[in-house]
């Protein structure tokens, strides 16, 4: 009986672990820098890198990875000048930077398959439908987003009847009742508000048909064109770290807390769990986590153009590539070599 249990455990471990291939190819060690697009926390791409670093997957891929974090968006310029080789950002942000400033960024693995942001109302709010936004105060973080404008159209909302106010990045304005609708980062701010004693309900743009996408791994064109093997090795290690994090979330949070010192563990767990849910859909179940669908990038580009998220078009094939992720998976399983 005990032998059966051991065999079953070995079998299950083999099923969940990335498929292995023999004959590892030694590659020269390469020093690269990953800069998370925000402070250390349990954003899923960050978790993937933390775990890969902790478990030595980068070293196994002959990579010497330095982990840094941006404080105010400097990762974009550092990435563009190749002082940082890998970072994170949503495809919408990548398109915006390419469209407005010609920054040579490329999304190389799509971790968040859903929009990063939602619109929150207090759980006890009488606002039940988008149409109910009329006559209410709706906040926006810095600029009126394409998501918001799309939701108004989807809900048949008369924008002139909505009072829009810029609210910055502090969700307490919803808790305080200064706004009726507040745009939240879905992965963390609902939990922050719940901890303030204000549980919320969400209007999720993705569920309502808005074609947003979450965080992706991003590199620059120079890396894609001149060091594709380094890009592949980085992603292979990071995605293995991500697979480990999904398989053992407690252990992953242990690793996260080494980086996110001073943060609340339960809050970090909430964030990671939310982003793990958002990282999986039919596409990833077939093709693996990080899978990319060109049609979604075209849809996102057209959507941003329609609602003023970008003012000029971008070549979708220049701002994303799925060649790396495709090479890493076989039958939906990450191939480790």
């Amino acid at each position: 009986m005990r032998l059966l249990a051991v065999l079953a455990a070995v079998f299950l471990a083999a099923c969940s672990a990335p498929a292995s291939a023999p004959s590892p190819t030694p590659a020269p060690s390469e020093k690269v820098t990953f800069m998370g697009g925000f402070k250390p926390q349990a954003d899923l791409p960050f978790v993937a890198v933390y775990v890969a670093q902790e478990k030595g997957y980068f070293r196994d891929q002959s990579l010497d990875v330095e982990i840094q974090h941006a404080t105010s968006g400097e990762n974009v310029q550092l990435l563009a000048t190749n002082r940082v080789q890998f970072s994170t950002g949503s495809p919408g942000d990548v398109m915006k930077r390419v469209a407005t400033a010609g920054v040579p960024l490329v999304s190389i693995a799509q971790i968040g398959q859903r929009d990063e942001q939602s619109f929150a109302v207090r759980a006890d709010s009488p606002i039940r439908t988008l149409k109910d936004w009329e006559g209410r105060i709706v906040g926006y973080k810095s600029t009126v987003s394409a998501d918001y404008l799309a939701l108004l159209q989807i809900g048949g909302v008369d924008r002139s009847k909505v009072k829009e106010v810029v609210v910055g990045f502090d969700p307490r304005v919803l808790a305080d009742g200064r706004v009726d609708v507040y745009p939240v980062f879905t992965a963390n701010e609902p939990d922050t508000l719940a901890r303030l004693g204000v549980p919320v309900r969400l209007f999720d743009p993705t569920s309502l048909g808005v074609p947003g996408l979450g965080l992706s791994f991003v590199t620059n064109k120079q890396m894609v064109n001149t060091k594709p093997d380094v890009v592949t090795r980085f992603l292979r290690a990071a995605l293995r770290g991500l697979a480990d994090a999904i398989a053992d979330r407690d252990a992953a949070i242990d690793v996260v807390m080494k980086y996110a010192t001073g943060e609340d563990r339960a809050h970090q767990r909430y964030m990671m769990d939310t982003e793990i849910d958002a990282a999986q859909n039919d596409l990833t179940r077939t093709n693996g986590i990080g899978a990319m669908d060109r049609a979604r990038y075209v849809g996102l580009r057209d959507f941003l153009l329609q609602y003023g998220g970008i003012t000029r078009t971008v070549d979708v094939d220049a701002v994303f590539t799925d060649r790396f992720v495709k090479d890493l998976y076989k039958d939906g399983q990450l191939v480790w070599r």
């Binding site: 105010s72 968006g73 974009v76 310029q77 563009a80 000048t81 915006k96 930077r97 407005t100 400033a101 010609g102 920054v103 810095s142 600029t143 106010v165 810029v166 609210v167 910055g168 990045f169 502090d170 307490r172 304005v173 305080d176 200064r178």
Partner: protein, 256 residues
């Protein structure tokens, strides 16, 4: 003479900026620096010309918030400094509180001002007032205490009341310090207004800078910074002119 001196001050300041611009123009062209890293000054100038109306409107808003914050912050500071100069126990009570205000990281508490004062102009004015408070408090306090004790005693022997000593001796003695505090506080008020706009506003130069930074639109970002600098230089020149006019009898008027 004073107006001419002010014009010379402005000319020198803008000349220095123009000199730096020439160096940067050569640098960006010679090394083909991308505009999202460092825009050529000519590109910034072109953008400022094309968006002159926007920059003027937003600059006016920031200036009005800064001016209101300056008046509020320095006014309260002067009143408190007067109280502290008049009473040692009150000085010992209030000064630690003033240092607490000084050491509070404005950026950290700026979002709270929106919660306390709402989304309008009030939080920006409050931040500008808070940030200008301490320099004016210290300068006012030291200035009011700087009156010559023998002169105080002389006025008292003539039967001057405390109010008369304050008006005719302490305040004039403090004027150089007050102007020094005003120079520091004016620029801080502008920074305070920008910080307030940065944390949540739909108008003002801070808002322009915030959005430009998010979009990597550095031509308008530097344009807004230059407008802010121009406002600061002009405000300082005005204070300098007022200082020379009011303190024509004082050596500092010759030195500035």
């Amino acid at each position: 003479m004073s107006a001419r001196r002010t014009l010379v001050d402005l000319a020198v300041a803008f000349g220095a900026i123009a000199g730096i611009a020439v160096v940067l123009e050569v640098w960006t062209r010679a090394f083909n620096v991308p505009s999202y890293l460092l825009p050529a000054p000519s590109a910034v100038a072109a953008r400022m010309a094309s968006d002159a109306g926007l920059l003027a409107r937003e600059g006016g808003i920031t200036l009005s918030e800064a001016a209101a914050g300056f008046v509020l912050g320095t006014g309260v500071a002067f009143v408190l400094a007067t109280v502290m100069a008049w009473s040692r126990p009150l000085e010992r009570t209030l000064f630690p509180l003033a240092i607490l205000v000084k050491l509070t990281p404005i950026v950290a508490i700026a979002p709270l001002f929106t919660l306390w004062f709402g989304f309008g102009t009030a939080p920006k004015v409050a931040i500008a007032a808070l940030i200008t408070f301490f320099p004016m408090l210290v300068n006012s306090f030291v200035g009011l205490r700087s009156a010559d004790l023998q002169e105080v005693a002389f006025l008292e022997t003539l039967g001057a009341s405390g109010r008369e000593v304050f008006r005719h001796l302490r305040v004039p003695s403090a004027l150089p310090y007050l102007f020094s505090g005003a120079r520091i506080s004016l620029n801080l008020a502008l920074i305070g207004a920008v910080i307030g706009e940065w944390t949540g506003a739909d108008r003002g130069l801070g808002r322009v800078i915030f959005v430009a930074n998010a979009n990597l639109d550095l031509t308008i970002l530097f344009g807004a910074i230059l407008v802010l600098a121009a406002i600061g230089i002009a405000a300082n020149a005005l204070v300098g002119a007022a200082e020379r006019r009011l303190l024509h009898w004082h050596p500092i008027a010759v030195a500035t």
